[in-house]
Amino acid sequence: MRRAGRSVKPRGRRVQLVTLAHARSGDKGDTANVGLIALRPKDYPLLVKQVTAARVARHFKGMIRGPVERFELPNLHALNFLLHGALDGGGTISLKTDAQGKVFSTALLRMAIEVKR
């Protein structure tokens, strides 16, 4: 997405998470989970700092109805996000193609974060 309205010049360059991380997602009722895993362990702190619950909630605006929770797994260089109200009721109730949130993970990988030049 364009950030034309930004007043402060970014210090680093913006890269999509898909170049820094991989991910897998699943469901529990109407909640989708996204596990985000650093491709290189050294990038994990970058994910912790920038891919916050608030940031992820903004990223998925219009796609989820409830709040976002985040859990840290430093041992696996991974973050786990719970996206509540993401699946139109979930499971068998949902009318969505991705009723079980199987590919929500890839939608998170579209997010851009800032890395040092």
Partner: protein
């Protein structure tokens, strides 16, 4: 001098009901294994099976399991591995009987014992439980089960590893269960082999993590794996995962030599975070496992070693999976072609919605997706220009209602659009969509002391 004990090898054969039918046979014959673990039960599977049982009391289990076992039985008799499977659904005794019949036909009379685990089925006790003050409140919404009592189709407590252990201790070669947790089918053999105590929380947690890692079959050995996906070798011949478990709770995940797929730290990590909630509290009937304590190490080609896993005491509750009748839904699709494929599909959606409104048809939900544009990534894909100049776009529109007649009427509004809506439309070969019954899932908790697992042995 004590000799180090060889690890126990527990192989995953099925990750869900409908998984690859070749996998269990290849696991049994591709190298040495001690146990073959097969997971059949998804959340709403029990209600489907309950319905089958109500029509025929001899049904209500995963029917595919019987021919699959018939193919495996000669190998099982020859190689003496054991099987744990929750294929019994809502009727484990009937499932065991069908497998026993198959074993007799295969000439194995007197040579096998089948353990049958029941006690998870609470449907017949539901009113009694409610009358004694159990609310079975929905874990997501807090609503008591009385809100949908007359629509409940199945109610099953999740049993853990211990009834599986009981069956193995009594000499079962094949353990057939109802609603036993996916992880219990892997942890049970470990407890049995290593004599772990009921409060050996770290070891029970380790076995639970092992179970979670292989419960979805090839999802930990290269299947559905995003990292480096194009270079994962020979998925056509993918090897399903095998746990090599040690008495101290450490274990490795590996697969048979010569098979496809790949077992690496990043790939296994993907499976660890799959369907994850709070990683510090992975709650099962047997323990509470802490996934933030797992240490992974690549210990050779296609081999990941797990260590350091910590657990906490089990809770005094069991999860109950209830299924209830919710209503009806239907989904219709049409495909629109270039030029302006996306705009044509959007126009068709507007026409359809106006017609539904003009008919006075209201629904609990109407959902439109444009497959090829926004179905999986929503506005994120649109912002990236997904709709621009698409060669084709599938309009996919679904409705949901408690009133079958409304859903039925909706299904008749799709086809007319082919001739009386926007142009360049095709892809209606499937015909008019059919209204589908919605059986919804209701998760709840119950006091452990209310559920008494039962283990019986059937001699073949």
């Amino acid at each position: 001098m004590s000799v180090a004990r060889a690890p126990v090898r527990i192989a995953a054969g099925q990750g869900f009901w409908g998984d690859w039918l070749e996998a269990p046979y290849r696991q049994a014959t591709g190298g040495p294994i001690d146990y073959l673990m097969m997971d059949y039960l998804a959340e709403v599977t029990m209600s489907i099976l309950q319905k089958q049982k109500s029509r025929d009391p001899a049904l209500g289990y995963a029917k595919d399991f019987v021919p699959l076992m018939e193919r495996l039985l000669p190998e099982l008799a020859k190689r003496r591995f054991k099987v744990t499977a929750n294929a019994g659904g809502v009727n484990p005794p009937a499932c065991a009987q069908a497998v026993a019949d198959g074993a007799r036909r295969a000439g194995l009379t007197g040579k096998l014992k089948i353990g049958v685990v029941t006690g998870d089925d609470l449907l017949g006790r539901l009113d009694d439980l409610i009358s004694r003050g159990h609310t079975l409140a929905n874990l997501d919404t807090g609503e008591p089960i009385t809100a949908v009592r007359d629509k409940v189709l199945s109610a099953n407590a999740y049993l853990g590893a211990w009834p599986v252990v009981d069956a193995l201790r009594q000499g079962a070669d094949i353990v057939i269960t109802g609603r036993v947790t996916d992880t219990g089918l892997t942890l049970g053999p470990m407890i049995h082999e290593f004599g772990w105590a009921a409060d050996a929380w770290d070891r029970l947690a380790a076995g639970t993590v092992a179970g979670h890692t292989i419960e979805c079959g090839a999802q930990s050995s290269g299947g559905n794996c995003l990292v480096d996906w194009e270079r994962i070798p020979d998925l056509a011949n993918v090897g399903y995962p095998i746990v090599e478990a040690n008495p101290d709770g450490s274990f490795a995940i590996t697969k048979h030599p010569g098979t496809g797929g790949r077992i690496t730290v990043p790939g296994v990590t993907e499976q660890l975070v799959y369907e994850m909630g709070d990683p510090r509290a992975y709650i099962t009937p047997d323990c509470v496992a802490d996934f933030t304590t797992i240490q992974l190490e690549q210990a050779g080609k296609d081999r990941v070693r797990f260590s350091g896993i910590r657990g906490r005491p089990a809770t005094d509750k069991l999860k109950v999976s209830l299924a209830y009748f919710y209503g009806y839904k239907a989904v219709g699709t049409l495909v629109y072609a270039w030029p302006d494929a996306y705009r044509k599909a959007q126009a068709a959606d507007r026409v359809l919605r106006q017609r539904l409104a003009d008919l006075g048809l209201r629904f609990e939900a109407i959902l439109t997706e444009f497959v090829g544009v926004d179905a999986t990534h929503g506005p994120l894909a649109l912002a990236a220009g997904a709709g621009d100049d698409a060669p084709e776009v599938q309009l996919r529109i679904g409705v949901r209602s408690t009133d079958r007649a409304r859903v039925e009427r909706f299904t008749r509004e799709i086809a007319p659009l082919i001739l009386n809506g926007p142009p360049s439309v095709t892809g209606f070969a499937g015909g008019r969509p059919k209204p589908e019954e919605i059986v919804a899932y209701w998760p709840a908790l119950i006091d452990k002391k209310e559920v008494k697992p039962c283990v019986e042995l059937v001699a073949v």
